[in-house]
Amino acid sequence: MTYLAKPKIHHPDLPKNALGFTRRDYEGAISTLCAGCGHDSISAAIIQSFFELDIAPHRVAKLSGIGCSSKTPTYFLGNSHGFNSVHGRMPSVLTGAALANRDLIYLGVSGDGDSASIGLGQFAHILRRGVNMVYIVENNGVYGLTKGQFSATADKGSKSKRGQVNSDEPIDLVLLALALGATFVARGFSGDKTQLVPLIKAAVAHRGAAFIDIISPCVAFNNHPGSTKSYDYVREHNDAVNRLDFWPSREPITAEYPPGGVRDVELFDGGRIRLHKLDDDYDPSNKVGAMTYLESRRAQGEVVTGLLYVHPDSGDMHDALETVDTPLNALSDADLVPGNAALAALNASLR
């Protein structure tokens, strides 16, 4: 952390997006996290993504629970809506908000403690319901705010800063999300923004439950030899199955690619993901294949990153509930209280 506010002054040639904003306009307050925290890099990647997507900040709602990760929404999108909820309860607040106003873009930010321990139940149900959102877990494998105890995602056999060995099986949130029906599942690394930023952009464009597990080293408590979530370990064991570029629907694809090893995925709104295969055998549309691959690589201590699974035509919670297109919070009293005749008709239909 720092006591000094980041100067408002910026590079004279800083580019502007279609809305006339610079990247700096998407920043929040200055971070109070430890120097070198991976979470700060994720905040920077989120800032970059929303800047590049030309999204007006007031169209975004960022929600979080408790923990280092859940503090970070203060540090990005300073002009967006925000809700800092109870520990592990971000998913229910997000679900409620998404039900009430389907027009906003929902960004849930959580950590491995918030989502894999106290909030595991809520984590499961928001994915099951297919809430249209981006759910980011900033995963560092430790409880940083309470001085570095193992979290539920810490690998079995990995060591704490003081040398204790973790004896519990880890929860792999990516495998869990796949099993629970998330329709966009990815894993990133806070130390690789060139991979992470397109992942976040594509997740925002995806309609349905998008989940990104981001390995984010805790410099204070989990960046030592013996840790499997340190900068060095993740860099050495990073098995990136693909790299991607993302184009919003209105932009033509301009870049040129060498032939072969490229696969396009068209999203609901016409946006396109172009995947550069790094692993020829990996197919992100095959859920069972993905789960098998992830499990086998994990057994070898590898960290699989990239876009792991995507089902572009998936519906979301509003489709399942057959809600009206108008956000519920925008309906008038007359729409919400249609009167006795309507009630009688409804009752009659159920007899």
């Binding site: 980041k6 002054i9 910026h10 800083l14 070198g36 130390g191």
Partner: protein
Amino acid sequence: MNPTDIAHPDYFHKVVDCQWACPAHTPVPEYIRLIAAGRYGDAYMVNWESNVFPGILGRTCDRPCEPACRRGRVEEGSPEHRKASAKPEPVAICRLKRVAADYKGDIRGRLPKPPTARNGKRIALVGAGPASLTVARDLVPLGYECVIFDGDRQGGGMMRTQIPKFRLPDSVIDEEVGYILDQGIEFRGGTRVDSMRALLEQKFDAVFVGSGAPRGRDIAIPGRNEARKNIHIGIDWLSSVSFGHVTSIGKRVVVMGGGNTAMDCCRSSRRLGGEQVDVIVRSGFDEMKASPWEKEDAMHEGIPIHNYLVPKAFTHDNGKLTGVTFEKVAPQKDKNGRRQLVPTGEPVVHFPCDDVLVAIGQENAFPWIERDLGIAFDAHDMPVVDKATMASTRPDVFFGGDAAFGPKNIIWAVAHGHDAAISIDLYCHGESLAKRPPAHVNLLSQKMGIHEWSYDNAIHGDKRYRVPLKDKVIALKDIRAEVELGFDLRTAYAEAQRCLNCDVQTVFSDKLCIECDACVDICPMDCITFTVNGAEPDLRTRLMAPAPDLEQALYVSAPVKTGRVMVKDEDVCLHCGLCAERCPTGAWDMQKFLFEPAHADDRCHGKHASAVPVEFAGLAAE
């Protein structure tokens, strides 16, 4: 690119744009910090060590430092400026120097004492201007006996005779020239040197020529001779005004020329009875040699500047000047792409006037140097002088200031003086002039603790403060009343806080870096990039923000763990230290780079005989 050699003194020196641009390499951010800390005496001594005349230069310097100032490049990106759509402006470096001089208190106890023992060497200095005074100041404490000759009774040279008193009061000259003359220098005022041969016969160990460029260029157009009574050469007229020989001028005055002398002439005329004063310049407004602020000051006093007019003739009636005619010209590119002034064909313009001041340039004049003494002169009748050593072709004769390379300004004369003093010292000890002593360099971490730095790293958004001026009506009544009032202490503090502390360097250690990206994310100016190495032109396009200014260096590290390199564009760095604050491993550190150019007393036997660089002696002594 190869890793940057930050151990080379030039690398970090160049990042301190103001100091690099200053001919005397004054440690600008160092003295500005001292002003902000209220240590005006210390700030003055830092200046005095390097530029000898802080009070004088704080009013009159040509300020090469200010166009170089980084603040002028970064302010465009500040919210305050976007709101006001104001022009980005450098720190008022020059006027802060005056603050140090105005509020320093009594610093006489900190000046070198007249030496108790002499080294037996005698040096003659011709002219008592800034160049000679600098040479004497550097040499006297080493035991040299210095004798300064000047045709005027008082020391100061052109600083006293050519700069109007409303810009530079006599009291300031008396004080700062006095500091030097009081060190035990023999000043022979009123003794003009008419023959170099006669001077050399007096068996001095070395002679320094700092006699300036004393001859104003004349103009040869019809009517010059007939109307000569009312046509004056600018610098001669200014010195007559300065000595009180001239106390009035006609109501309508035409000043020919676009340099700073022209500005001094027109503003002086306004104070001696000139009601309609016109400055008429051959070139365009932007090409004028006068400093922008001097043009502003003239226009502020109701003096119009007319451009693209070439003088054709003086009109006169019975030996009395009636005016000047001018031909209108326009700039045009010729076949070779060179800019030329071509007559527009419009009718000539006539400016009726009572007096004309000709300020179209100055020339050197050495009628007093016999040409058979071994001192070579070139085709332009200028002495052949070595740019680094200031030596002439005769081993015991040195030149400096305007006398060496033609008219420049005071700060250049000071820089020449320092170099000449080193050369004279080497020469008098029988050593090669090429054996220049190295500069003093010190690089010291500014980290005091967590979040604590020994400099004020917050970036202030304030726009440049204006120096308050004396009311125009009062100022124009008295030619000796100083126009600029100088900053008060509150404004001086605010202006000092605009300085970015560019001498506090961002020093990177590739061994400690874990590539967490914290510095990249926090840098407000997008200066830092981790990327695959490449050739410089390629790298410059691949950074977080493009770095097109080739004058500004890229700081490239050795490869970090992933094989990439850290590349930092020095151009727009705010030196805020956030990279170092956010670095978890201390791979970034903020280190103050203090560069003190060598002076004559550094030459191996001097006070800094040790190889370890030290803070300024003036500061250490306190």
